[in-house]
Structures are given as C-alpha cells and as structure tokens.
C-alpha cells in the first residue's frame, strides 16, 4: 500500500503505528515493525522515476542535480 504512495498508504501507517507500539510483544516486535517501516520507505524511495539524464565531466546526473 505504501509503495503505491498517496494518502491511503500514509494514513494506514499513521493509524497502525501507535496502536502497534502499545501492543505487548516487547522490544523485538517493535524493532521488527520499525524495520518493516524502514524497508517500505526504502522501496518507496527506490521507485523508478523519469530521468532527464545529462552527462557532466563523465558523471551521469539528473538535469536538476546542482
């Protein structure tokens, strides 16, 4: 859901997080949940996007790179 982005994914995470952290299960469960969250965020940030690739001194950069 989060990979798709948008409000529904964000809302789901915001709803689930406080409830989950209150649940019994100890620090390992919380760490696992946080790791999952980070993974999802990683997937989100790695989603493909269109490039305006330019080459500067051998570096292949995005046109917006400053």
């Amino acid at each position: 859901v989060f990979h798709q982005g948008g409000r529904s994914g964000t809302a789901t995470i915001m709803t689930l997080t406080p409830r989950f952290l209150r649940q019994p299960g100890g620090p390992n469960a919380r760490r696992g949940f946080i790791a999952t969250l980070l993974l999802l965020i990683g997937v989100r940030s790695a989603a493909p996007r269109p490039t305006g690739m330019v080459e500067r001194d051998g570096w292949f950069l995005d046109a917006s790179d400053r």
Binding site: G42, M53, E55
Partner: protein, 482 residues
Amino acid sequence: MFAESLQQVALGGRVFDVCLVGSGPAGITLAAELGARGLSVLLLEAGGTQYDEASQAMFEAEVVGPLPWALDVNRLRYFGGTSNHWGGFCQALEEIDFESKVPGVDTEWPIRKRDLDPYKARAEIVLELPPATPDQPFGERLRLTTMRYSPPVNFGIKYRPVLEKLPSVTTVLQACVVNMTERDGEIVSLDALAPDRSRHTVLARRFVLCAGGVENSRLLLWFNQQNGGRIVKEPRTLGRYWFEHPHFTIGETFLDESAPFVFDKWSIAWANPTAQTLREQGILNAGLRVTRRNREASRQMIADLACIAPELGQWAMAKLKRRLFCGALMRASWEQAPEPWNRVVLSADRDTNGVPRAELHWRLSDFDRRTILGSATLFAEEVLRRNYGRVRLDPWVLGRGSFPGDDEIKGNHHMGGTRMSREPARGVVDADCRVHGLSNLYVGGSSVFPSGGAANPTLTIVQLALRLADHLSGRPAPASTV
C-alpha cells in the same frame, strides 16, 4: 597408464580409438569420459607434471597489438594446462549468445543453447560449481546476474588419479606433436617428439586437438603448411576471428545500500543487458562488474563529484557518513566482435622443435567501445531513474581518448581461430567440432567458439567436451532439457 615420455610407451603399431592432443580442461574431460566408456585413449601432453621454464618457453609468441602480457605467461604448458592457474569464474552462455545479435557482426553458432543444455549439469559436477541463482530484473533493460565460482578445479590434480585408474587411457607427458599425415580425407597418423628428440608415430581412428585457444590454430596452420593444404582445405578463416573478453575499469559509482545488488565473495555485483536490449541497442553482450570500494576511496569519489554538483555531493557525503551509501568501482568484461583481422599466424621464428611460433594480431575496434558504452549508459540511467546513486564513466568510454594501455585489458580468454560453422567458407570445424572436409580430425576447447558472449568460457569448454565425448563414443546426445 601414465608415462613420462613416449620412449616409455610401446606404441608398436597400436591403433588407439582416440588420440587427444593437450591436457587442459577440454582434453582431460574428454579423456576421462571416453576412458570411462572403455574407448582406448592416448592423451598427449607437451609439458610435464609441473611448471618448467624450458617447457614454458615453447609458448613464447609475438603479440602485435595492445596485449600487455606475454602468451608464455597467461598460458601454462604442463599437465592440467591453464587450469593450473585459472580463477574459477564460471558463467553459461545465454541463448542469444548463439545467435546473430547485430546485423553485420558474425556471432552466430551452428548450434544453439539447447544443444549444450543437456551437458550443463555434468559440466557443473566436473567444475564443482554451486547451484545457479536465477537472474533478477533491474529495470526493463538490465538483469542482475551472478557469477559462479569453481573452487577452482585444477584438472591436473583432480583428474590424474581418475585417468590412472582407467585401464584404457594412456597419458604421455613431454610429447610434442609436430605433424600429422592425411590420406583420402582422413588423418592416418600423427608425429610427436620425445624429450630426446626421437620421433614417434601415433596411430588412431580419431584425433582431437585440445591444445588451447592459440595452439589449436598454430598447430593446424603448421600441419596444413606441411601437408600442402590438405588438412584444412578451406583455410580462409583458419587462425582468424580470434577474440578475447576485453576487461576494463570503466568508471565509478556510489549506490544506496538499499539497492538490490548482491555482492558476492569478491565484493562484486554483476549486471548484464537483457537479450531484447542487445537487439534494440545494436550491441553485443556485456557483463558489468560493480566492485565495492573502501570508505576512503568512496569519500574521494564523492568529493570529486562535489566539484561538479556541490549540493548533490553534500547530500551523497552525508549519506556515506551514515553508511547509507557505498562507493564502487565500475568494471566490465564484454563480448568482442569477431573480426578476421584478429588472428593467429605462423611467425618466421621457430621453437626448439622447429615448429613456427604463434604470432597473435589483436586489437579492439570502435564497435567494441560502442558495446561497453551502450551497456554502461543503460546502467547509469537505471541507477539514476531509481535514485540509487550516480555513475561516472571514464573519458575513453565516452569516446574521449583511446583504450587505456595500463589496465587489465583482457581476461586471458583465448577464443576463436578454429571457429565452428555450417559452411567451410565461414569456419574450420562443423557443428560436431570436426574439421570440415576430414572424417576424423576434431578440435576441442574455446578455439571453436564463433563468438564468446560475456560469459567466462570454461563452463562452455567443458560442456562442448562432454558433447564431443558423446559424439566420439557413438552415444546419442541426451534429450534437450529445454
């Protein structure tokens, strides 16, 4: 039987089922397979059982071109051949590697991947390879691949006890083959010298040259010259279409740690273009090698980037400090276009047995640069598209300057020269590795490759040897697994 020289063997008119020349991966695999099936085999090795300066000097050859290492260094002339110092890197050729990829570039084999697939599992056992890992897509135009590592198997050490136990296999060391005799379209005998220079005649029903990616061409050129062109009757391609896998450092990159690259035991992650991409881009196959660098080298790379794009450099440096980025060297090994001007010819200089030395002419072309630029640009674009990091390519890759002369340059993969073809005009051996126009002379090893893909060649060499063993023993090829 394992003999130190021909003087210890009572040949006395004995006719072997198969005589093999050369004890590298191809020759030893064939000897073990044929011997296990009860065929009488004579395996001739020009060297001894250990490295020897005098023997190795027989491999001295002139190289015309940018090869920085001598051919008496990257090949080994003793039992086990060059498997005595190989790295163990193994990859299978891909389906597209057997086909024509680019119009006007002759990469087509007369066989297909499905013809070698039935021998893959056995070759993996011979080479002691771990199970294969399926490729993973990296965008639509690239794949993340894996390299498989043989321990590496030293064929001389591993298979000497095997051959010694096979009663029908006779291995003779220090036997230098200097000529063969043809009559009515078949080879009737072969002449070999013992260490005391005594000349011995070997009789066999079939002969297989497995002397290596340069020596197979050299021997056939020499035999053909002595026999008035009756060995390779259509010699137009003999020694030609020789090729390497160019190996170069092509640039550097920094990557997000969450990127899906799997770094292996040598800290290398591998990527290749897809088959469809090769066709669309009009390039040959290429293996990109992303090799992790230490933090200091990574820091220096990002500092250089900051001179071009300060904000980006700052962002990357911050992520590097938090260990969210890693730096990597971009290296590549790729498919060289087979060309007739890359060739083995006979030198005017001769070795101590009177055999002309090999002279290797080899260079890279603009098309070879186009292949690596195309593949590397695709990688850079995919890394940028996913915001995994950025890629820098060296100026020569971008066409600003010639190929560097101080890099690795080649993989010591000697291929071609006696290429496989349907028609005699386009190659030296047919689809069964038999010399066109002769009934009983075969060639084993990477010299029969019409093209080499981007895969390290040893796995294919062993697959071809196992297939040739089936052919020579009259056993039908197993059903294709494809």
